[in-house]
């Protein structure tokens, strides 16, 4: 079976900085592939390499079976790319932007209306408004519309939901799932861990390397250490003290609790709680609340990061 996107051991350096240290992935038709990681992890570099905007320093990649270095001219018309920064003409209206990009690709809005209909219908009421005057969510919808106008085979979305309100984010992801049903391969990057479960498969990226590439469900299922959430009145000394307990693998602040991963995989939840409460009491914490919890993607990310550092 042919993959829409095949990436093998891609490397990219900026001077002495290694932005990508050999990443590989496969993306099929009708799949949403998420690249999840913090800023500076190499997401944008990867996207720019795959959209033929910059050259890799090592490795190879194919989009729709075409080499990203040699056949870049054939790739450009068949991919849709939405950069992380809003990259449309702010001083043109919504309508003019769409017309402009349609003309650029030698097509019209009407021709591919079926693909963009759902998105376009949401921005249509504002079609006379200047793109620069749209809200964040609307801007992203317009950008998506422009990226889809030529019915691409692969869609690259670089942090499409960064800086967008939660409701618009939800709508955006809904639209992505609808597009996927039309057979598009969608590669999307995001720094938001909670969006990982909305992807079919995800790659956790850190420091230019994929920590793991799997379905989000499998990544969570693979997490086999005991995990606890701890709360007390004085949180920051608590964090320091927990990290000194020899049985603790890692501990991170996580909202209003600390998440603790224990080294011993065999410990059940009761034993774990007991171990932690005695250890913490011995260190002078009397008001701690300990709960065993199910891991989410962020726990997995932190865990994998600890293993790799």
């Amino acid at each position: 079976m042919m993959f829409r996107v095949e990436v093998d051991n891609i490397k990219k350096n900026y001077g002495a900085t290694e932005a990508l240290r050999g990443v590989s992935m496969r993306v099929s038709e009708g799949e949403i592939f998420g690249v999840i990681g913090p800023d500076g992890a190499g997401k944008t570099s990867l996207f720019r390499i795959l959209t033929t905007l910059i050259l890799p320093d090592g490795g190879s990649a194919k989009v729709m079976g075409k080499d990203i270095v040699a056949d870049y001219k054939q790739i450009r018309p068949i991919v849709g790319y939405m950069p992380g920064r809003f990259s449309l003409y702010q001083d043109l209206s919504v309508e003019e932007n769409i017309d402009f990009f349609a003309t650029l690709f030698g097509t019209t809005l009407q021709e591919n209306y079926s693909l963009v209909e759902e998105i376009y219908s949401q921005i249509e009421p504002f079609r006379k408004r200047k793109a620069g005057a749209l809200s964040g969510g609307m801007k992203q919808k317009l950008a998506l519309c422009c990226a889809l106008i030529h019915r691409p085979q692969v869609l690259f979305l670089d942090e499409p939901t960064t800086g967008v309100d939660p409701v618009s984010r939800k709508e955006f992801w809904y639209m992505l799932r609808r597009l996927k049903e039309q057979g598009l391969a969608i590669i999307v990057s995001t720094p938001y861990m909670d969006e990982a479960t909305l992807c079919d498969r995800i790659a956790l990226i850190r420091g230019g390397k994929f920590l793991k590439t799997e379905t989000p469900q499998q990544i969570i299922a693979d997490f086999d250490h005991p995990l606890f959430a701890v709360k007390a009145s004085s949180m920051s000394p608590l964090l320091r003290q927990i990290r000194q307990i020899p049985q603790v693998l890692s501990c991170f602040a996580f909202g209003d609790t600390h998440h603790i991963v224990l080294k011993d995989k065999g410990i059940d939840s009761l034993q774990g709680k007991e171990l932690l409460s005695t250890e913490l009491e011995r260190r002078g914490f009397t008001d701690v609340h300990i709960n065993d919890i199910a891991p989410n993607i962020e726990d997995c990310y932190m865990y994998l990061e600890t293993l790799n550092s």
Binding site: T52, R76, V79, Y81, P83, S87, F105, G106
Partner: protein, 349 residues
């Protein structure tokens, strides 16, 4: 930058005259005229570059700008001066550059006035048999070619045209293309089937139109407001201006391929295009008075050649064949700059 400017203005650029190219025509060759010509050539202001065999040759030298000042001595200069005690010399000046013309006239009259008695005495001493009634007098008459009313607008109109076109074409083009890079729209444009170089060419078209309109306004204002006559062929004035517009546009494109922020583009346009165009194109400061090194630098400034061509066509009113070399140089610039920017152009980020 301030260092460069201080040095430039303090030493290199001066409105003083140096090495003005002089052509002479002496119908009757004699020792007196030769000595006088030597005197003029010895001064730092003038260099004798051409000894014309006849008056037509002198006129031709004027037309193709090999000389800037012409001197025509009277027939039988020496015998007239020895019999009548007075003779006349005609000084031809190039009215397209008023500064040079007026100063050259002043210095020439000075040199002639101070050296004539000395020379007469020398001649008499060397050959006592010659009869020379002292004191003698030489009467220079000046005629200002091309600009008899000595209007300074004749001088600056071609210069201003060069400057405006440089400004509009090079600066605005480069800034507008770089703005696409800065805003990130270039990223999206690149990931499209449109050939990126086509995108850039398309960006220059509006500026070509604006420049053409500017050109039309400038020429109309020059003719009707400043009463500068277009003595030469209007068609060629327009054609060469369009050629220069294309040269400037290609410079703008070149800059845009090299830099990535609007500020850089503006800085480069101002420092590399605008300043040299103002200072080194001969518009404000005569090129002949500059140090040799700056004269060489001025060769690589397209505006210099354009302004020369405009002066020749508009003010001198010569036919285009006298400035065909200028056209060729501008065309060479166009080819060179365009190929350089195509070579430098990246269709990636």
């Amino acid at each position: 930058m301030p260092v460069v400017m201080i040095v430039l203005f303090g030493f290199a650029l001066s409105t003083e005259l140096k090495n003005v190219k002089v052509g002479v025509y002496t119908p009757t060759d004699d020792i007196f005229t030769r000595k006088l010509i030597d005197r003029i050539g010895e001064s730092e202001y003038f260099t004798i570059v051409f000894d014309a065999p006849d008056k037509e040759a002198l006129d031709a030298a004027f037309l193709n700008n090999t000389i800037e000042v012409g001197m025509i001595f009277q027939d039988n200069f020496y015998s007239t001066i020895s019999h009548d005690g007075r003779a006349s010399v005609q000084i031809l000046l190039d009215g397209t550059n008023m500064n040079i013309a007026q100063m050259a006239q002043f210095y020439l009259r000075n040199i002639i006035g101070t050296s004539v008695q000395e020379l007469a005495q020398e001649v008499v001493m060397a050959d006592p048999e010659l009869s020379l009634n002292l004191p003698v007098e030489i009467k220079p008459t000046t005629s200002m070619l091309y600009n008899p009313q000595m209007k300074s607008s004749f001088n600056f109109v071609p210069g201003v045209m060069g400057m405006i076109l440089t400004l509009v074409c090079s600066m605005m083009t480069s800034v507008s293309i770089v703005r696409e890079k800065e805003r990130g729209t270039m990223e999206v444009l690149l990931v499209s089937p449109v050939k990126p170089f086509l995108v850039i060419l398309a960006k220059t078209i509006p500026y070509f139109v604006i420049s053409a309109l500017n050109l039309a306004t400038t020429i109309l204002l020059a003719i009707y407001l400043l009463q500068v006559p277009v003595s030469g062929s209007m068609l060629w004035v327009v054609m060469i201006s369009l050629l220069y517009i294309m040269v400037s546009l290609s410079l703008g494109i070149l800059v845009s391929t090299l830099v990535s922020t609007q500020q850089e583009a503006i800085l480069i346009s101002a420092m590399v295009f605008l300043m040299p165009t103002l200072l080194l194109s001969g518009m404000l400061f005569p090129i002949e008075s500059m140090p040799v090194i700056l004269q060489y630098v001025s060769y690589i400034i397209p505006a210099r050649w354009y302004i020369d061509a405009m002066k020749a066509l508009m003010i001198q009113g010569v036919s285009v064949k006298y400035c065909i070399d200028l056209v060729a140089i501008l065309f060479a610039f166009l080819v060179a700059i365009t190929s350089l920017s195509v070579y430098k152009y990246k269709d990636r980020l």
